[in-house]
């Protein structure tokens, strides 16, 4: 199955993924409403993505006391009938990657559903750090990128953490999100949210 593949080396920490995700959830660029979170422990620290991996042996499925989380054998997706969630929080405690969280606008604990097969976060990611691909594809791409770095065939750039999105990038991201959701999205508000987030990290000393 195709899954969200995250390449920490290519992430600029711009937060476009979380902003887009939250826009699709609650109409506001509000990272707390996002089902994907890029965790950052510091400027030079490795990044990690906290997003549902649709595990093969999902801890959330056995944790869920309502039996509303299921592993769909056909599609490979971990699905949630979150309308029936009574928010016990067990899925959040047991999830090994921290992908399950209580969405403020819902009573329920939710996790990424891959937007039904066309993830918005991937569509907006300006640096290609997030992709929607088969494991084999992702593995082969990483291996080839490594060889590129090893032999120095244009791989040097790939080793540096990419820069933050430009104004033009934010406009492209805004139009991609807007186009998908059928609403107008102000690129300024995205850029603002991004800088607010970064400020918060700075204050946290990260």
């Amino acid at each position: 199955m195709k899954r969200l593949s995250f390449d920490p080396a290519r992430c600029s920490l711009c937060g476009a993924c979380a902003l887009a995700c939250s826009l699709s959830r609650c109409g506001r660029p509000e990272p707390a409403e996002s089902r994907i979170r890029i965790e950052c422990a510091g400027p030079d620290e490795p990044l990690r993505s906290a997003v549902c991996a649709h595990c093969e042996q999902p801890a959330c499925v056995s944790a869920c006391m309502r039996g509303i989380i299921e592993k769909d054998e056909k599609s490979g997706l971990v699905t949630r009938r979150w309308e029936n969630c009574f928010a016990c929080g067990a899925c959040a405690v047991y999830c090994p990657v921290g992908a399950s969280s209580q969405e403020p606008s819902k009573k329920a604990f939710t996790a990424c559903d891959l937007c039904g097969g066309d993830p918005l976060c991937v569509a907006v990611c300006p640096s290609g750090a997030l992709r929607f691909e088969e494991d084999a594809e992702g593995s082969a791409r990483r291996r080839s990128a490594y060889a590129g770095r090893f032999f120095g065939s244009g791989g040097d750039k790939a080793q540096e953490r990419p820069g933050l999105p430009s104004q033009a990038d934010w406009e492209r991201i805004a139009s991609a999100v807007g186009g998908r959701l059928g609403v107008a999205v102000d690129p300024e508000s995205l850029a603002d949210a991004c800088s607010r987030q970064r400020k918060a990290w700075e204050e946290e000393g990260m």
Binding site: A87, A90, V93
Partner: protein, 425 residues
Amino acid sequence: MDACFDILIIGCGAAGSSAAFAAKKTSPALSVCVLGSEDLPVYSAPALPDLLSGELSREGVFVRERSDYESAGIVLRLGETVRAIDPERREVHLESGEALRYGELILATGSQPIRLRRMQGTDLPGNFVMKSMADVDAMAAYGGSRAVVVGSGAIGLEGSMALKARGFEQVTLVEALDWLSPKSLDKETSDELAAVLESFGVEVLTGEAVQGVLGETRVTGVRTAKRDIPCDLVLWGIGMRPDVELAKAAGIPLGQLGAIRVDERMCTGLSHVYACGDCVESTDALTGKPAVHLFWEPAQRGGSVAGANAAGADEVYQGSLAVFLTNKGGLSILALGKTAREITPEERVILQEKRDGVFRRLLLEDGYLAGVQTVGSLADADLLCAVLKRNAERSNGWSLAVPVPEECRCSVRDVMRFLRRQRRG
């Protein structure tokens, strides 16, 4: 001829049901039968307080429908009580007299609530436990407006909140020991919890052992060492006990804690017999010691390991965590790992904070995070849980456990920042 199943499962709760589905998934060609003593397919016992409060409908409590078993090819026989197991002949004898033959047997007999039968008045109408749907139905039918809840485990806490939500005017939570949930919480955390409960109108009495139930024909009150509390009903939440009668009679070895002893593959001491759920003694993931964890998650996961292995797979159950978790109607509490009393004072560092209405208490042992207690939010629960599990493996040669550096042991915030950084790289 006797009915014969490749895999026979006794118990249709979380463990039994997940064992059945896991077995079918592993090996669809095998015949699988589940016996349930209640006439109901698996439902969520942890959701019973919500059924009681009225927040959930009856239908909402069920985890699976009868038709789910059918479409998976599992034979479901409900309302069947097992009289005995004959491991020699690989047979199970039902109350009805019927004998069922099995290839592999999985015991998922669950647990029973502890009742103080010898205490005065505990046999009166108005005494309740909350283990089964029938218990909740009975309580709902009984009615009343004043309740005493005895015990401050999950049933006690959630039960008192549920009764309040159901509209009871007076709900009194009585705990014999000095503070609430003393097995899982330190006094400081318990005080936070008590404050939350009281803000919802639940009266909390600690250090008061119940001495008897008052009433002639039905419950009219509860007597403690300090007072008589008038009430219409008593909800007992003083603990659960693994149901091991069948196993014991069949000669299946029990562990030191009195539950069925299983290995990491969920095999019991008898060949062709697996066990899972509340009735087993497994390993505590943090201490590595034998433990009886009567929660949903270990039952569900242990069930699928038992089911898969019975069907020919080779899965392991890596033990479970003693998770104290309640997240209901504004009451949010999580406790993991050790409490202060379980760590020697010389090795102990305790950090505590309350920020933005969230109470968080972290316990370090020898510099390693060893216990967590929070009230008011489940944020970072996964991180804390992951760190605790990792630290538990610190005796392994290749352990990745890292102590919190001295300079970070000043505040909860510093520790959290360090842990976040540790998680990756």
